[in-house]
Symmetry: D2
Subunit: 384 residues, 4 copies
């Protein structure tokens, strides 16, 4: 009998990150994919990942609305609680042989807790990394609830083992997001018109002489400062003479501060080189990055996919603190002068070399193979 | 301004374990106690800890009914989710400076998650220990969500540090349950009639020539076997010629199996030396233990308080596996012959010496002092 | 395409009441049955209706644990809220063409609200009746949320129309519980040994010279008095010289008071003619009633099925107040003298005639036919 | 002892409607106000009623985030369930003598159910009216759960009595929203600059020669058509030569369709006479209405306050169907030609006379007086 593998996708970026693994699980002869779509992955405001998922031909085993509106710290906790209540019922119906939980978003703790408590083996993808903010607590708590750890880097594997997990339960697969980057890197030319295909707000721009891509998420434990932080980035990129393609942040405590900063900036400054996008299909986004002068902000894409692609990155603030970096990253504070200066440095230096730190482009297949063969157990004990 | 310390008590045994710390917090000039009573601590079936709490004069800041009935794995997860939803609202109202979460019961993860997500520093009491079952996952996950670790033993401190926690955040206070044991040990004679004071089911017994105390909880990850396991213990103690004082297990997935085993045994065997109690005030229970020939089962009391008190213990099965032991413990499998033999060995050997492994009797005061002076922060990062 | 009819069963007595309709829906060529089992129907303490349902060969579309433990007024509300959250997800998956909700238990409001809000036509079975207690509020609120009303009596039909419902939406089908009574009435002899088949607590009794069946539920809005009320009944039946077969009440705020009363009575009085049952298959229970000297308590069975069967009934207190009665009922207060006297009156008078007030034995088929042909709409408007 | 009156406000329009009653309760010597703010009243997207409430000096007893994001039918049900779970805990803490629930929004059913089930008398304000859509089900279901009915009109009183409620429990107080209208009517001149005070999107306009106010909410049971319906109104008002002041709809299933229609219209048509507001203080809004050429859409303000103020109203579609009307209303379908024609008719006819149908301006005081003197009971029974 095929092993039933339940994967819970709760957000647009998580879907992008796991997609090649989902495809590999779906086509694997010994596995049956049970895909649950939940939380902001169902919501239009956050990019409607559900549409991409359906567009990619996946059957959806269950949908769970679980985001309690408010975008603050209280509702983060309540959303997770609501998800836990409902995912328990979902797992009780689907009876999976293993539940796969992705990375470290706050609401993913609900998957890990529900599966753990129901004696279902938990497989954690992308554990063992180090970053700032609440993600840090979530990620390592999920590790302690998980039975199998499919990590992206050697450094991550080492950290998971030091957390007391059985060495045999820790496997370096690389990150499946790099699989998509690898496909794109094979033919990196921009083969679509982003303004026409994705609409968005603001004037068109001529992208032929370079452009900046900006993606800046609020940092949960610095809630009050979200507005200030986004302002520093907005004014840093305003006068560099390059078109700015800015992407809305995903749902999180504080994103209202960030969103408001962007709106006020546009009303007040009426910038001519500034275009706002809500989201893109991952391949399109990566292709856009391939041609970018630099990526600016605090997205993990800058650290992960862009190291593989060799795209210059200016990483701002604490959100990616502790994450392993390739040669493409310059780190700066939330300071408009420093941000602008780092971009200029990248312009002077040109494109960095590609780096296999986060994977070689075959993570999806490796994850599916691993899920089909590894011993699935719920017993675990600290190794010390 | 006083620091507001919110403690969430979710079960009768947790209350017993934390009580001296609650008293020390209440009387500390720099602290304000916010006591939340939740889950099975509110339920008659599980010993109505709320009555003991009120009897001890504590003001209750909020009550949260959160146990979804069913006593199975699905409802464990759902209860935790419901608790998470509601505790978020409770913390939002109480605005504590720190939340204290106790040990490793499944529902306590709700406290730790709610407080973490709401940027409230989390203080974990009794982390770093090693046992069998789902508690293992819960305990270390709570450690990764916590900012301050007040542990019972040197071994526990070492393990918490190895889990990547800042050494300065780990403090050995001893276990507050030992504080009560120390008070009782000062005048250990049985000063009440347990049958008269606590009622219960079954005939009175003459306790003057020794007696066995039995407390056996179902082990979550061995759900199906709960019934078999309790039978082994029931038949092991049946024919030893000593009165048996048996205590009902607390709420958990599987306790119906355990409870049913006990009921069927009584109907079928009609044992004459067998009396069932629901619960006792902790001091009374410890005093009863002081005079016991042995304690039998899988309760942590046998390992912790009884090591301090020097009470012979027969520890059955995996539930306490990995927990540090004093000289008073003999470990056996779920096997009626082995259990009976271990009890006889203890009878031959007599009382073991007392052991300060789990504390010296001053943990409550140490915890309150620590809460009043330690820096409260929500930032944390893996130490490696 | 077959119409998908989703029926939500939340308790043992509700299952008994709807069973023949479920069977008729299942075998109807134009209908597909989607059976959801929830709340106390899943719990052992309340008779495990799920086992009867499976034993009767029904496929179960979803199970929803939703009873928040505590058996008080707060948890009644919370259980209903939890059910509402989860049933919304269940209906979203099952996509029924209509949802059938049964009678007036507090938690059934969750079905009616979820379906109404999701624009699914709501069919209410057994609306329009009048009783005491919170059921009164629930029943008529469900009527106002429902689109189609399949009622038991002409009086109920008249009341639903006066509540402003379209006359065409109100159909008198009779009560499906009478269908089972009609089958039993065809061969009413006791064909099983209740003590052997159902166990229970207390000595066997000789039933050949008559016996009393007692079923007394706590009355929600008189919470404090549950204990007193059960005592009156216990002492009323104690000395009548007839065996007493007492059935545990179902889950509700206050049932702990009732249960405790029963337990204390047994310990204190050690009655010899007193046997406690948890529950029986409906046919067995009705057959037991056919031979009973009288049924005593406040169960609706005494009013409904027993009017059809011609079993003498002593109805105590306010719970059935307002319900239409046949010739078999004597009403009394919670007063041990009055209760005993009413039983003696019945003994003197012998069996009353049968009465078709609540149905003629074909309600299940009528309900299924109606569901297959009636126009399903969600629009409604007060008729005045 | 003062009677504790708990009022649950769940949305901006509900707050406007109840405000004078809240003020009268607050200052009444025999009453204590317990104000709970919940649901969309806490959310920025829906006008942050909480800010107005705090600005008006009310103490807030509890805040309950309960809106599950998604704005569809499933999340309407889930939000109500979540609210029910949490309000039970809130009422358990506040221990009110009565709970006041307002009108007929879907989530208000949570208040009524929680209070009913907890044996707290329920006071319903604005029952007995007749409209289209799901509100119809909610309103009358709340009536059946309520013990006291404080209604706006004689027609409403008559309908509540026909629903089987005790005549003595039904009192015509008038609608408290009329109290504010009465204050405004005393000095109706526009004493603020709406563009300066409230910002919003779109150009300023010269209001001196008349203007239209538009407020159009999606109609729940016509979910798919929300987009079409808003388009008819948008194009109807586009070319009438009057400035259009358009207000965003409040949270409800379908409001995304409506919002999107508005956004697309603006991008495509770039209308010069079109300004979008999010919300205003009620007095400012009413004062704006006093000077309006007409109010257009499907808001109840057009029917209620505007009948008192004598403001011409064009009421579109089914949302207000069945509500009693004064002389100021012309009803039309969702048809751009008909809408434009009705506006032109009003322009020709000029201002209609004022009408006391919905109150005389003293409802708030009457409600407070009633709450302080009426017998509070939880018992009720159908009058027929």
């Amino acid at each position: 009998m095929k092993r039933r593998i339940c994967v819970v996708v709760t957000a647009r970026p998580s879907y992008s990150r796991i997609r090649t693994a989902l495809q590999a699980i779906r086509k694997h002869p010994d596995l049956e994919l049970q895909l649950v779509v939940a939380a902001s992955a169902l919501l239009e405001r956050y990019g409607n990942a559900i549409h991409s998922i359906e567009h990619d031909g996946f059957a959806i085993a269950a949908r769970v609305y679980m985001v309690v509106e408010g975008e603050n710290l209280v509702t983060s906790a309540k959303s997770t609680g609501l998800g836990l209540v409902e995912l328990a019922t979902v797992f009780d119906n689907l009876k999976p042989d293993a539940v796969v939980t992705i990375a470290d978003r706050y609401e993913t703790l609900a998957n890990a807790v529900a599966a753990s408590y129901m004696n279902i083996p938990v497989v954690h993808v992308q554990g063992g990394e180090v970053t700032g903010s609440i993600d840090e607590k979530v990620r390592h708590a999920v590790t302690k609830l998980s039975n199998i750890h499919l990590v992206s880097t050697q450094g991550a594997a080492e950290r998971v083992r030091r957390l007391g997990e059985e060495p045999a339960s820790v496997i370096v697969t690389g990150c499946p997001s790099i699989d998509i980057a690898a496909e794109v890197a094979a033919s990196p030319a921009l083969d679509f018109d982003p303004f026409e295909k994705y609409g968005g707000v603001g004037p068109r721009a001529d992208l032929s002489r370079g452009y900046l891509v900006v993606m800046q998420h609020p940092v949960t434990t610095e809630y009050q400062e979200a507005r200030h932080q986004v302002d520093e980035t907005l004014y840093a990129v305003k006068d560099l003479g390059l078109p700015v393609l800015w992407f809305w942040p995903n749902v999180d405590a504080g994103s209202d501060g960030t969103s408001k900063g962007i709106r006020v900036f546009r009303e007040k400054e009426q910038p001519e080189n500034f275009h706002l996008f809500r989201n893109m299909y991952p391949e399109d986004f990566l292709r856009l990055l391939c041609g970018a002068t630099a990526i600016v902000g605090n997205s993990s894409v800058a650290i992960r996919e862009c190291s593989f692609l060799g795209v210059p990155a200016v990483n701002i603030g604490s959100r990616q603190q502790g994450r392993e970096r390739g040669r493409n990253v310059i780190d700066v504070e939330h300071d408009r002068v420093a941000i602008a200066e780092a971009i200029r440095t990248h312009i002077r230096n040109g494109k960095p070399e590609r780096d296999l730190l986060y994977g070689d482009g075959h993570a999806g297949d490796r994850i599916a193979d691993c899920l089909s063969t590894i011993e699935l157990t719920i017993e675990k004990r600290l190794t010390y």
